[in-house]
């Protein structure tokens, strides 16, 4: 029985090898070499690409990517948590309708959604036409960081709401009643029981928002114009425009390492929270 189950995993293992492990090694290989990729004999070991990553203008791009992803994640959390809380507390029949509101945009094509934001935010887009119609001064947020952050929040908010909502809806009502029974009013019950119990959901929400936000290139290109290059755009350009696969690979590896470090910090944070120690009163 056990062996047969193992056997069933082989196709997936083969898939993983072909489409995940091998490409990963290729990326690593290119990042550590220089020369013409079409002429294997010209390739030689080199850390040149990594050295270039640490040039100031590239560091600036990396810094900006992390900053915008961080701001977007923060906003997604601040906006998303209350939404998840509300959805989890409304009556069952409204619950599915509210959830639909949040899920329907995900079913729509990602590019389409971002183009929609373009037409809302662009200099003569919906918002500005409304403002000038009302005789108010127009805004110029697109192209710019604000537009990029708005686009990220809009696109990734559901990925914050869903995991938090899932954890919230799994909390046993009697646990909340137990807190109230022991003297906690609604506010204390929230901060001392509900919030700590949703930490795993928050962590996966943050992960699911931060990772795509830090590596996006579509949102930054469409809403940021050419002004707001992010690390995603930089990597994309190396493979499409610059044809410098070595530098592109090095950037990818650095991005991956930084994401891994962020996640490690997050899960450390989670296990600290989980040690059963005294709550913050």
């Amino acid at each position: 029985m056990k062996n047969r189950a193992k056997f069933l995993a082989y196709p997936y293992l083969v898939w993983m090898a072909i489409f995940i492990v091998i490409p990963l090694f290729l990326v690593l290989f290119y990042s550590l070499t220089k020369g013409n990729i079409h002429d294997p004999s010209s390739l030689s070991f080199s850390l040149e690409s990594y050295a270039r990553v640490f040039e100031v203008n590239y560091l600036k791009v990396i810094w900006k990517s992390f900053k915008l992803a961080f701001i977007s994640t923060l906003f997604c959390f601040v906006l998303g948590y209350p939404v998840a809380l509300i959805i989890s507390t409304v009556k069952a029949k409204y619950k599915s309708i509210l959830l639909m509101f949040f899920l329907v945009p995900i079913w729509m094509n990602f590019l389409l959604r971002t183009y929609a934001w373009m037409s809302i935010l662009s200099p003569n887009g919906f918002i500005n036409r409304l403002l000038s119609f009302l005789g108010l001064p127009t805004l110029s947020i697109m192209p710019g960081q604000t537009a990029v952050v708005l686009g990220m929040i809009y696109n990734f908010l559901p990925f914050m709401v869903l995991p938090i909502y899932t954890v919230l809806s799994k909390i046993d009502r009697s646990v909340i009643e137990a807190a109230m029974d022991l003297g906690a009013n609604k506010i204390r019950t929230f901060f001392n029981v509900i919030f700590p119990l949703t930490v795993p959901g928050i962590i996966s929400g943050i992960t699911m928002v931060f990772m795509p936000a830090v590596s996006t290139f579509v949102i930054s290109r469409l809403l940021g114009g050419n002004k707001e290059l992010l690390i995603g755009n930089l990597i994309e350009q190396q493979f499409t425009v610059q044809r410098d696969w070595h530098f592109g690979s090095a950037l990818s590896i650095i991005l991956m390492i930084m994401i891994l470090i962020s996640m490690a910090v997050m899960s450390k944070f989670e296990s600290d929270n989980d040690n059963g120690g005294a709550p913050t009163w």
């Binding site: 646990v175 137990a178 700590p196």
Partner: protein, 346 residues
């Protein structure tokens, strides 16, 4: 007698079209161990939740120490609850679970430590302070739940089928532990169970409920020996419930003959239900019995045999150590005090 700590006056609770609790009147005395007993869905939990403050009655009043508390939220009541499925805080360890209520009341650290130590001793969980509650067995979790409630020294402790999830052996142990704890700490216990044996073993007072209505309130002995109606007789222990006629005080007719009994206060020739407990019937020679019959089945029950005897137009259940095989003619005897006459219910 000690004073009434909780009173329920004409309390009714409806959920949509279900009347979960139907106009009940009940008072609970200080330091009493009172048990709400009844079949599933009879309104026990609803009654308890109204006392705890988790539901508001639609009609009637709930008084605590003589003060109406209908709309007082749970966190302002001097009452704590042991929930049916424990409802422990899984993000906190054993110590912090028990400390929860004390921290909210801002009890000083050293006093908190002392009280928690004492509780852990009481529930025999010393040394478990830093254990994660998920890593405890069902019985241990149960005891944490009890300690978490008791440490607040409430005036009243509500327990909703706290032993429901435990196996029989642990259940029996915990029954005794709970009874001892209640005596030691001197707190009023309101206990919910659908297990009649548990109710009779543990309680000072038993409240038998059915369909949201209180059927009988009394001591375990009263409830067992003097059931007020067919439902109580049937629900508490095994019984033979025979239709009969009360001719006059102390004289009842059933199974085709008249018997002396100890009951009075019925109308002349009033139709009644008669209860005789299976263990109160003795088997004799056919000609020495009050009723003659034939044994139709025998089941060995460990301590005794359970026999069905057909006679006098009724199939009597008898529990006796004296076994008679199937098909044998026997006589049945019982004493006047073994006959319990009840008003005929609907």
């Amino acid at each position: 007698m000690s004073k009434k700590i909780i009173e329920l006056n004409n309390v009714t609770k409806r959920y949509n079209d279900v009347t979960a609790v139907d106009n009940i009147n009940l008072y609970i005395r200080e330091n009493e161990f009172i048990t709400l007993l009844g079949p599933s869905g009879c309104g026990k939990t609803t009654t308890l939740r109204m006392i705890g403050g988790f539901e508001e009655p639609d009609e009637g009043d709930i008084l605590f120490d003589g003060v109406r508390i209908n709309d007082v939220p749970p966190y302002k009541r001097n009452i704590n609850t042991v929930f049916q499925r424990y409802a422990l805080f899984t993000h906190l360890n054993v110590y912090e679970n028990i400390a929860f209520g004390l921290r909210i009341k801002k009890v000083p650290k050293d006093e908190m430590d002392r009280r928690i130590k004492r509780m852990l001793k009481l529930v025999e969980l010393e040394g478990f302070e830093t254990r994660h509650v998920d890593s405890l067995s069902g019985g241990q979790q149960q005891r944490v739940a009890i300690a978490r409630a008791l440490v607040n020294e409430p005036k009243v402790l509500l327990l909703d089928e706290p032993l429901g999830a435990l196996d029989l052996k642990l259940r029996k142990e915990m029954q005794i532990e709970l009874m001892n704890m209640q005596k030691n700490v001197g707190i009023t216990f309101i206990y919910v169970t659908h297990d009649q044996e548990e109710a009779l073993t543990m309680s000072d007072t038993v409240v038998v409920m059915n369909k949201g209505i209180i059927q009988q309130v009394g001591t375990p002995v009263d409830i067992y020996n003097e059931p007020e109606n067919r439902f109580v007789a049937d629900f508490i222990g095994e019984s033979n419930i025979i239709e009969g006629i009360m001719h006059e005080d102390y004289l009842v007719e059933f199974s085709g003959r008249k018997f002396k009994c100890l009951d009075k206060g019925f109308q002349q020739n009033e139709p009644v239900d008669v209860v005789i407990r299976p263990e109160d019937i003795d088997i004799t020679e056919p000609d020495k019995g009050l009723i003659q019959g034939v044994v139709t089945s025998v089941v060995f029950k460990g301590v005794h045999y359970e026999m069905m005897v057909e006679g006098g137009g009724f199939e009597y259940m008898i529990q006796s150590t004296d076994m008679q095989p199937v098909g044998v003619n026997v006589g049945l005897t019982f004493e006047p005090e073994d006959i319990h006459v009840m008003k005929r219910g609907s």
